[in-house]
Amino acid sequence: IAGITQAPTSQILAAGRRMTLRCTQDMRHNAMYWYRQDLGLGLRLIHYSNTAGTTGKGEVPDGYSVSRANTDDFPLTLASAVPSQTSVYFCASKRDGTSPNTGELFFGEGSRLTVL
């Protein structure tokens, strides 16, 4: 089934540890995004990539890094996790990253991360 796969679905992590959230899409979409969802704040963009080989910072990039070595994969890394990074993380993709946003965003089912 075409779509976005995120892993892990849930993780508990000690503060200070390094963690990579994986995201893979098989729709050959150019644009990919990482959001975090927190109660009362909606979704906030962490990083984005309009096409393979390029990335950009979103609203809340501090403490996170991404890479886009190919079209399908867009991993999100927490170099040294802190409790404020406890959240649900969603990966999303869109066919075209730079159009006037007429395209639909496709979301993964989320990765729930708890940092103790």
Partner: protein, 117 residues
Amino acid sequence: AQSVTQLDSHVSVSEGTPVLLRCNYSSSYSPSLFWYVQHPNKGLQLLLKYTSAATLVKGINGFEAEFKKSETSFHLTKPSAHMSDAAEYFCVGSVGAGGTSYGKLTFGQGTILTVHP
């Protein structure tokens, strides 16, 4: 800068009654606007989108929304609620061609819809 405000954090309706979820936006440019739905422990799914082709937009599952520029609103409605409509709904905006959003969207804070039998 643009912003999207959902006016209600929670809406509760009875099954079979109308649904109204309110959203206001502010943008210096003509926006693209979307409504997404999120069921528990799931990702977000597109309900409908407005991209200036028509002010009344019909979406999936009987939902529709009307873009009103004079009121800067994009409220989501459904004539008759179903139990399966219980979910969280997000109004989402994006700057149009005159802006530099690079595909970045602004999410409202979300409205949780509860449907009572």
